[in-house]
Each structure stands twice: as C-alpha cells, then as structure tokens.
C-alpha cells in the first residue's frame, strides 16, 4: 500500500510539473511567436498526461483488458512525447527512432540527450540536475528493456527523472 502511495504521489508531482512547464512554454509561444516551442510544449504536455494514465494502471486496479489497453497507449504515446522533447536537442528526424524502435533505443537516445544537455547548460546546479533527470529516465527504459516485468520500478525511475528535470527548470534562482 505504501509503495502504491509513493508511486502515485511521485506521478502526480511529475505530471503537475510537466504540465506547468508545457503551459509556460505555450504562453511563451503565444507571446513571442517562436514556433519551435510548440513541439517542446506538446512533448511535456503529453508526458504529463501520460503520468496520470500510468497512475490509473498501477493504482486503479483496472480489469486485465483495461490494463493491457493503457499499457499499449503508454508504450506508444510516451515515445512520441520523448520524440517531441528530444527534437529540441537532436533535431528531426533522429527522435523518430524513439517511436519506431524498442526501449533500449529510447534509453540510448535519452542518455545522449543528457550528455548534450550537460554540454549546453551553463550554471550550477542546473548543469548536472537536468542531465541527471534524462539519465534517470534512460535508466528506467534500460531496466524495462532488460526485464519487461519490472514495469512498476521502471515507471518509478521515469517519474523520478522527470521530477528532477522539472524541479531543475522551474526552481527559482537566487
């Protein structure tokens, strides 16, 4: 029960922060007209919504059929969210590999994105926090790639990674 509560709380936090970032980026697009913000915002929005879907799978005790359908949705839609976010780092069409290829590839691309973020970000602690978030998410995918039954732990790692990124980008600077 405690495990479920921790899982649900982490996912709610990850979802809220992700949707907050998405809305802020969309406002930025509306104010500046910078179109490159749209895929990035859409990626965070989709990811945020999917975090809620993951709670439904883990906590809601759904029927076997609903569980399979939601897992199917997560497995297909989450890579699309990654692709939209990673495009800002890798450029198109590289992120499409995340959608078309399995978990191991997602882990690899997320790892590379973490390295790119580390090289591009100036100032501490963001320089290490943001890449760390990408690497934790990559770890979640790597775990699921090696052991498909470890969905709950992979999900936990993915939420923790997203929270790390979201906290890094939304925390107030001194």
């Amino acid at each position: 029960m405690i495990k479920v509560l921790i899982f649900a709380s982490l996912n709610v936090l990850a979802s809220t922060l992700s949707i907050y970032i998405a809305i802020t980026l969309l406002r930025g697009y509306l104010l500046s007209g910078q179109r490159s913000l749209i895929p990035l915002a859409s990626g965070f929005l989709l990811y945020g919504v999917l975090c809620l879907a993951a709670i439904a799978v883990m906590v809601g005790n759904p029927t076997r059929r609903a569980f399979i359908h939601t897992r199917f949705l997560l497995d297909w839609l989450r890579p699309i969210a990654y692709a939209l976010i990673l495009a800002a780092y890798l450029g198109w069409p590289a992120p499409l590999l995340v959608v078309l290829l399995p978990n191991g590839v997602s882990a690899g691309l997320l790892g590379i994105t973490g390295v790119l973020a580390f090289l591009r970000i100036e100032g501490w602690p963001w320089r290490i926090l943001t890449p760390l978030g990408f690497w934790i998410i990559a770890l979640g995918h790597a775990l699921e790639a090696t052991d498909p039954t470890a969905f709950a732990y992979a999900e936990l790692l993915r939420s923790a990674g997203l929270i790390t990124i979201a906290v890094a980008v939304s925390a107030q600077a001194k």
């Binding site: 970032i21 930025g28 104010l31 913000l37 970000i121 600077a173």
Partner: protein, 84 residues
C-alpha cells in the same frame, strides 16, 4: 555570431524597456539589432499592446511588463534545459 531565437530578441527588447522609455536608436543598441529589424518587431509588439510610442520614445505598457516577466520565466526554463 551566436544565433538568437525570436524569444531571446523580444526578451532583450523588453528587458531594455523595463528600465524605462527609450529612443529606437538606443533600443537597437541595447538589443543588438539593426534599426529596420527592430522597427518590424516593435510594430508587432505595439499591435499586441506590449509597447507604446510617446513621440520619439518607446515605452512598455502594463501588458508588456506582464509579458516580460512571463518571457523571462520561459527563457529560464529553456536555459536550464540547454535549449537556445
């Protein structure tokens, strides 16, 4: 020369106007933009109600001030994601 996104350019213009009204030439120097390009952007910002003109001076409206704070927040997110 470093590439600047449209968001960064608007941020730099509004950051300069946040200090107080400016002439176009002064603003062009602060935002590091050619005057003709700055004028095109100012026209768009004026149409959106973010800036106004008072004779030769360009000033920031209340809406512009709110927009500036919001753009600052977006820029901070992009900087910390490592996206220019």
């Amino acid at each position: 020369m470093k590439y600047r996104s449209r968001l960064s350019i608007i941020h730099d213009i509004l950051a300069s106007l946040y200090e107080g009204p400016k002439r176009v030439s002064h603003l062009a120097r602060d935002a590091n933009l050619p005057v003709d390009r700055l004028n095109r952007i100012l026209e768009a910002l004026e149409a959106d109600g973010m800036v106004g003109r008072d004779g030769p001076l360009i000033y920031m409206t209340e809406r512009g001030r709110d927009a500036f704070l919001e753009i600052k927040r977006v820029k901070r997110i992009l900087d910390r994601l490592g996206i220019k």
